[in-house]
Symmetry: C2
Subunit: 276 residues, 2 copies
Amino acid sequence: MNRQQLIEQIKLKKSFLCVGLDPDMEKIPDFLKQYPDPIFEFNKRIIDATKDLCVAYKPNSAFYESYGVKGLQSLIATWKYLPTDCLNIIDAKRGDIGNTSDKYARAFFDEATSGMSFDAITVTPYMGNDSVTPYLKYDGKWVIILALTSSVGSKDFQYLNTGDGYLYEAVIKKANTWAGADRIMYVVGATKSTEFTDIRKYAPANFLLVPGVGAQGGSLEDVCKYGITKDCGLLVNSSRGIIYASNGEDFADAARAEALKLQKEMQAELEKAGII
Amino acid sequence: MNRQQLIEQIKLKKSFLCVGLDPDMEKIPDFLKQYPDPIFEFNKRIIDATKDLCVAYKPNSAFYESYGVKGLQSLIATWKYLPTDCLNIIDAKRGDIGNTSDKYARAFFDEATSGMSFDAITVTPYMGNDSVTPYLKYDGKWVIILALTSSVGSKDFQYLNTGDGYLYEAVIKKANTWAGADRIMYVVGATKSTEFTDIRKYAPANFLLVPGVGAQGGSLEDVCKYGITKDCGLLVNSSRGIIYASNGEDFADAARAEALKLQKEMQAELEKAGII
């Protein structure tokens, strides 16, 4: 899905919601455990219940990898089930030298070898240029680079003053020289809403993938106040707040209700910004 | 394998060689492709041919992931086959917020859920404290944190001057507050040998995992000149230089010959430093 198609979906669905698919066997409803692939069954029902309300899905690779071969099979089955009118993001936060990034690109972008081909992958910038550019060889695919994250540890290095701004600013400035806003997005945590003004100086047009609304305490209103652009430019993710809204048999309905709440708030923000 | 055991193995084998297991179907000998799991067959023969000459093995996760479910099965089979007198490192370069790092830790350290339990994992520091500490909850396991890497892209961010030294120095200083030299190693590329003196100021006792000898152009002599400690303190990795020394039926013998060459050089360095 390219930038123009993503913007169209945002306007059509009146939503810039990304649903994070972080399945955990300790949290999914008991009745699903009778199925041969409980994680896929869980995701399938979440997807069915939310797909008209969101524009992206983001499976977090760690949750699948923790279950070994079965987990990877669940991830592949989930990828196959993801609707084509949503951007499919694998949240993998990979980062390695060029010849290794080539292999990670195959793992997530090349269905012929790995069984999966997501639209976008999250990557970590520490190793620089050659750790990111191999993904850009795949026409039409996106890289989503960590800039300013939402967790406690973000203070350790991302706010170091480099003489060229904070490290997260230096990352954005440098990565902007690798590709444009049609290929690169940045991760910026919702808990950092006041920094959005600053980030928009360096990334005026890039889409920002924004985790941290909900469980981590970020505010959608603040994110929009400081981060929204004329094309929206935001994908706001919610994982736990939606998928674990209930752990009973009604979990899919509860997930829909939470997603609908966010979609309504997003619609109001899109209207306020004159986008729809 | 703990620090003391690792040092004992280095003295016993007169080697601080780590063999990187980066199997690539386009490079492994044709005759192996008749087996149900050619990657495992390749690794098995490499391990058999080198296990008395090295003290560590380091499968690079990307190479396995690129083959999807079959690749993961090969990785698990390889992990099971790794000798117990070698440190088993998974080169995964993961890094994410705490609740996600918990899952990556399970993926690589918890055999009961994932089928694998390596001794050590490489991690990327960009997200700070909570992206690294979940691995340290596993008694006796190591984290190996990226500091100064060997590739071109290392210039982009690792050398940014943070006011507290270069970014890679700030990473080492901060990570030293998370755990000691019995739990944390650092990745420092062999192509950066002159920076080893500087790194030893901040990490006097930590083991350094050193890629980049061979294919990437680093010199073992320089690495030792500036980086060796009284306990050795180095694990020097070679991947391509050993495992692809030949692509014929003699590949295991050729791998052994290359490993032996490095082991002999390492023995001389250990003698020069008075360690053996």
